[in-house]
Structures are given as C-alpha cells and as structure tokens.
C-alpha cells in the first residue's frame, strides 16, 4: 500500500482524500458560522463547545492542520512535477478550447486560499491560541459574557477585511467548482454518478463560499 501512495495515481487519491476532509470541515465551519446570523447566544454556546472540547481541540484540530498543510504541500509538489513533465512551452496554446479556467488555475486559486488562511489565522486562530494556551484562559468569557460573537463582529468592522474575505471566498468557489468533482474522479467515481456529482458539486461550490460572504457582509452591516 505504501507503494500505491508513491505512484502518480496514489498521490491523486491522497489529494482527493485530504480534499474530502477539508470540504467536510468547511461544511461544519459554515454551519456554525451561519448560527451567528440567527442567534448570538447559540453561536457563543457552540463556539465555546468547539473551542474547549478536548476531542475537537486535541484530536480534530491537529488532524485539520495536518490536512491543510498536506493539501497545500502536495499541491505545490505536484505542480512542480507537472511543470517538469511539460518540457518546452508551446508558442501558442488554446487551453480555453478544451478545459475550464478553474481546472487550469487550481494552483492560483489555491495560492489565494492559502493567503486567506494566513490572514484568517492571524485574525482568529492565533488570538485564540494565545488566550487559551499562553494566558491559560479557557473560560471563554469577556466582560461577563461569552466573547466569541463580539470578537466575530469586531473583526468584520473593517471594510478592507470584509473585501479581502469576499475575494478569498470567490477564489474558494472557483477552486471548489473544479476540485469537488475532480476529487471524486480521482477516487474512481463511475460515469453513471457523474451528473449527480456535478450537480451536488456546483451547489456546494456556490452555496458554501457565498454563504460565508453573506455572513461577513451581514456582520459588517449589523455590528452593535
């Protein structure tokens, strides 16, 4: 089996498996974030649970970080290998004649998402790690109430940050529009299921990123 993951197809499968994990994570992240639009208290409760539950903090979070790092590192390694396989470039290449922009530019939409993740970590993850692991404050409280909803709204005060988030989610949508069905194809999905997968893929790739955009814009317009 170790030989399998060293082969070109094995690497495709590994990319697809990490993509499935990241898409599942994105779905649950979206589900929790969307609570913030309907109920600040519920969002606070769920965020506190996610932020203090040992299984999520000490098992799921490291797996998630490994998944993200693996997907990016393997993506870059494969891109470099593919560039090497190209040899001399064409003087004229009409890529648009046979493939989508999204499929040809996964590396660039991926780089945009990586840049966003760095910003997102600076915004939310590093302060969270600082509060819990350096200051040792696991209460989740600030000024007598759970702090998560307030922190979320505070981050979306800046129109520049909201703009950056909107742009990043557009790139995420573009990445998913190819990546979703591509991951299934890499896993050997059969032609009979292709149409259903394409429909689900399109729905997922549009609804999730644009849902995140709506949440960011909503908090920018409705901060207290």
């Amino acid at each position: 089996m170790s030989g399998f993951f060293k082969s070109s197809i094995g690497r495709k499968v590994a990319m697809a498996l990490s993509a499935f994990f990241l898409m599942f994570f994105l779905l649950q992240h979206f589900a929790i974030n969307s609570l913030s639009v309907f109920s600040a208290d519920l969002f606070n409760e769920v965020s506190h649970f996610m932020g203090t539950n040992w299984l999520i903090q000490f098992v799921m979070q490291p797996i998630l970080i490994l998944g993200v790092v693996f997907h990016f590192v393997m993506g870059f390694i494969l891109e470099l290998k593919n560039k090497k396989a190209n040899g001399v470039s064409y003087a004229k290449n009409n890529g648009a004649a046979n493939s989508s922009w999204m499929s040809r530019n996964m590396i660039w939409s991926g780089v945009a998402i990586l840049a966003f993740i760095i910003l997102h970590f600076i915004d939310f993850w590093f302060p969270e790690i600082n509060t819990k692991f350096i200051q040792g404050d696991w209460s989740g409280m600030h000024d007598g109430e759970l702090r998560y909803f307030h922190e979320l709204q505070h981050k979306f005060l800046s129109p520049i940050r909201v703009g950056a988030y909107v742009l990043a989610f557009i790139f995420l949508a573009l990445h998913l529009l190819h990546g979703f069905t591509s991951a299934f194809q890499s896993m050997g999905a059969t032609a009979g299921r292709k149409k259903t997968l394409q429909t689900i893929g399109k729905a997922y790739s549009i609804i999730i990123p644009f849902g995140f955009i709506i949440i960011a814009v909503y908090h920018h317009l409705n901060h207290h």
Partner: protein
C-alpha cells in the same frame, strides 16, 4: 487560400529550435492539413531548402502517427479527427497558422515536428497485453460469454490509437488517458482478469518512470482525443490500481 505558417524548425534532438514563418499560396479548402504541408515541402524542396519533417503514415485517421499542435490544439481546431483528417476548410484565406510539435518532456523532439513517442510503446510492453498460449489449441474468444455493455466499453477503450494528443493537450503532460484506455480494454473483459493486478501496477509504474505528469482532471485530453476516449477510463484505471494495491 493564401496562408502564413509559423512552424517549429529544429535540426535534430540536440539542436535548439525556433519558429520560422512561411507563406503558402493557392491552397484548396478540400485539402487535408497534411496535403497542405506537402505543398509547402514541395515549395521548399524546389527552392533548395530543407523540407519540414512531420510524422504521417495511413492518412486515414487510424494509425496515430500524424501529430502536430495546430493553433494551440492537438490535431488542430476540429473535433474527433487526427491531423490527416483535418481539412483546410477549417481555416480562412489570409489566416496565420501556428504549427508546433507535441510538447512533453517524455516526448522529445527528434526533428522539426517529429517527436519520439516510444514512451507509449514501453508502457504497452510493461503490461498492455494478455498472455495467450498460441500453440494451436487457442480457445475461440467468441466462446466466452461477454455482456454487450462490457464488450462495447472495451471496444471504445481499444479505439485509442496512441497518437499522444492527450499528453500534448494536458497542461501537466499526463499520459493517464492513454494508459487508462489500455488498462480498461483488458479490465472490462474476462481475458484480461488473470494479469489484471500486475498489468495496472506495471503500466502505471512505467508511466511514472517515463516522466509523464499527474492528471488533474481538466478533461482537455478527452476533448482533444481524435477517438473520443472517455475520462471514465482514467477513473477505471484509478479503481483498478486501488484494487490491485489492496491485493
């Protein structure tokens, strides 16, 4: 038709090539692309110049020899055809046509538009066959019950002529459509089952060894394939390799 041709000229494998401009006149729209190239070469020979080297053989779309990357696409802008089946009516009077060899590190240029596609042969030799005892008592293939659906799919995969348009069109220079087709044509039939595990493992290993890139499912290969080989063959090869790795 009067045309300007921008053609890749390269003396030999070790030389550095370059694009060179040529003019051709009075080209009939009924000519095939290769006939147009013949007209150019006649012109070059008559003027004492070196003719453009290009691959061709059957000139009826079945041998897979003719290649060429024409105006940014393998076998040119038409669909489901090889370069010999591409007609000049696909172009307009006064057009400039860019003609390059198929590009991939695994397909090195030998001369002008001729590339070395022996990597495909080596992949075939690694497992693209079934071992049949031909000592005189060979079983008739028709004696084996095979479903119409499987037979049709296997035949579709077997129509791959190994021209290399999939590799040339792929932004990653991946050979997975070719290898997927060759794996599939046996994987779908009972005769291919005995060597199924070794076949897919050895062919994929040879494909990787030859330096082809990794498929990212852009689908360009399927669109540019003159024989319409489906991406489904790549998915089947992935399944076959996964199954083989678990055995």
């Amino acid at each position: 038709m009067n045309l300007t041709l921008k053609i890749w000229r390269q003396k030999d494998a070790s030389s550095k090539g370059q694009m060179v401009d040529y003019k051709v006149t009075d080209i009939s729209e009924h000519m095939s692309f290769l006939e147009m190239m013949d007209v150019l070469n006649e012109q070059l020979v008559n003027s004492g110049d070196e003719p453009v080297a290009f691959d061709h053989d059957c000139r009826e779309g079945i041998c897979g020899m003719c290649s060429m990357y024409i105006n940014g696409e393998a076998h040119g802008p038409d669909r489901g055809v090889t370069t010999c089946q591409l007609h000049m009516r696909m172009f307009k009077d006064g057009d400039t046509i860019t003609i390059e060899p198929f590009r991939a590190a695994a397909f090195p240029v030998i001369k002008d538009l001729v590339v070395d596609r022996m990597a495909f042969e080596r992949i075939q030799q690694a497992g693209g066959y079934i071992s049949v005892n031909t000592s005189g008592n060979t079983q008739d293939a028709n004696a084996l019950p095979i479903s119409k659906h499987a037979a049709d799919e296997a035949m579709d995969a077997a129509t791959c002529i190994g021209c290399g348009a999939c590799v040339a069109s792929c932004k990653n220079s991946s050979a997975m459509l070719f290898v997927g087709a060759k794996v599939s044509q046996y994987a779908l039939l009972p005769q291919g089952q005995v060597e199924a595990v070794d076949r897919v493992q050895n062919m994929v290993a040879q494909m990787d060894l030859e330096g082809f890139g990794n498929c990212t499912n852009t689908g360009a290969c399927e669109i540019e394939c003159p024989k319409g080989i489906s991406l489904e063959n790549i998915a089947r090869m992935n399944r076959e390799l996964m199954k083989a790795s678990l055995k």
